[in-house]
Amino acid sequence: MSEDTTTRGGDPRRWLSRAVTLPYVWLLLFFLAPFLIILKISFAEPIVAQPPFTPLLEWGERGFEGLRTTFENYAFLFQDGYYGIIYLASLKMAAIGTLLCLLLGYPMAYFIARQPSRRRQVLLLAVILPFWISFLLRVYAWIGLLNNRGVINNVLMSLGVIDEPLTMLYNDFAVYIGIVYSYLPFMILPLYANLERLDVDLLDAAADLGAKRWQAFLDVTLPLSMPGIVGGCLLVFIPAVGEFTIPALLGGADTLMIGRVLWDEFFVSRDWPVASAVSIVLVLLLVAPIMWFQHVQSREQEAGR
């Protein structure tokens, strides 16, 4: 039997390269192919049928007869100012949400990174813990807090701070809260990983040379933590642009975010070709930030070694 061993797979790498075919094919079939199909449908014409779009390839009696494409769906997107406004609004809301996340996340990451090891772990765990609790339920929790007759309004009114309830739910404000709340751990973790590596001697040196604390922060800490800032911001920004659940539950009727419009385009208007074109443009919008993220990641990995 020992001969069998050497011939059948003395090389585990060969075994692995065979075994990896399975996930490889899986990804080709369930990740790449669907994306190509969306691309294909975005060039098809909508028709009233099941499925509601024309086939891209024309198959006649003699087989393949031609390629039927239309750029109308894309032309529609660009001519109709509606979609342009929604894309810009989504980018704007994601950007503001990301900035707010950074403003809250940076001090927290900075603080955690400066604690003794034991306490650091507990504080970090407390940041990660909410992430494991259902995203949907965490967004839902804010409805009860922000409601006109919700917890915050009740507390403020009983304290006499306000006489009438503040309108905090079903508007952009609530969406920002939702984004910051849902994505705060994604901001804090890369920032923490970066700030933890920061050489404290550099700050001492700055102090010895007469720099004030805020000066040392602006001139030393902030520039050195730039990779963490960029990484955290992109981790928040990229999913926030296409976010559906938060605007759907916390946003108002006038909160236009592309994820929600796409959902309606698909489930309500049932215009699949336009929904596909909307998706493709969204992916194209995200390519630049994604490439930037990849770049930052690979540099960070090298720095970590």
């Binding site: 585990p12 075994a19 996930p23 199909i37 927290m108 929790a141 296409g242 759907a248 796409l262």
Partner: protein, 269 residues
């Protein structure tokens, strides 16, 4: 002499309050006797009793758990293979495509993943007659596909810090590749496999958007049901579901943290 940074402390305290007040308020209101979510009507467990009597909800919960368990298991197996291949087979054919396809789901908006998979299932049903109906199977496939990407991230970071000499020694001693894989590689990767599985399980249990696209009549997962209920208005029984999930998660995370803390201390000794 360093000043105590009071401003910083205030922000940090606010941050943690921001993270935990919503969770706390859901837990408190789940024990509220009043039907009005905002009024305190005394302590009561009625919403928990309500849950147990809600067949639709129990069914959705069991469906979600089943999908999560199956998809996490498959995603962990496939993801571990991809992570190993990317880590060790530097000259694998199509390596770039593989690493692209396994990273892309991490950044792809869920809504597009859902839409594109639905189009795939519809096209497949047309061409080969499968899947005839959409439901638990199609949701499971979708969940495997996106959670695999997260498993790969977790396993790869473990592989980066792993010593390969044990496996080489086992090979030198004549171990068959499969035996070495299951006797040496898998146990060494076990912590990463467990956290990868838990992550995949959580992501699946939590997914609303992708499930909504690829599901069909008769297959309603827990998040889909909760979403439908929330859209109709806040109902106290959702507070009860949330509290149960929060309790399970906190118990799980704290146990895991204690266990890994003990292991770390053991290795230090």
């Amino acid at each position: 002499m360093r000043r105590r940074p009071l401003g910083l402390l205030t922000i940090v305290a606010f941050g943690y309050a921001f993270l935990y007040v919503p969770i706390l308020s859901v837990v408190i209101y789940s024990f509220n006797d009043s039907r009005l979510v905002t009024l305190w009507g005394g302590f009561s467990l009625r919403w928990y009793a309500h849950l147990l009597a809600d067949d639709e909800l129990l069914e959705a919960a069991f469906l979600s758990l089943r999908i999560a368990a199956v998809s996490a298991t498959v995603a962990t197996s496939l993801g571990a293979l991809v992570a190993l291949a990317l880590h060790r087979l530097t000259r694998l054919r199509g390596r770039l495509l593989l690493s692209g396809m396994i990273t892309a789901p991490l950044v792809m908006p869920e809504i597009i993943t859902g839409l594109s998979l639905l189009f795939l299932f519809i096209s497949m049903a047309e061409w080969i007659g499968w899947p005839a109906t959409r439901g638990a199977t199609t949701i499971t496939i979708a969940h495997i596909t996106f959670s695999m990407a997260y498993v790969v991230v977790v396993v790869r970071s473990r592989l980066a810090g792993m010593d390969e000499s044990l496996e080489e020694a086992a090979m030198d001693l004549g171990g068959r590749p499969l035996t070495v894989f299951f006797d040496i590689t898998v146990p060494m990767l076990l912590p990463a496999l467990v956290s990868g599985w838990l992550l995949a399980f959580t992501l699946s249990l939590d997914d609303l958007v992708i499930s909504s696209f690829v599901s069909g009549p008769g297959a309603t997962t827990l998040p889909m049901l909760i979403f439908a209920k929330v859209r109709l208005g806040v109902t106290p029984d959702i507070n009860a579901i949330a509290t149960i999930i929060i309790a399970l998660v906190i118990a799980g995370v704290v146990t895991a943290a204690l266990l890994s803390g003990r292991r770390e201390r053991a290795t230090v000794r």
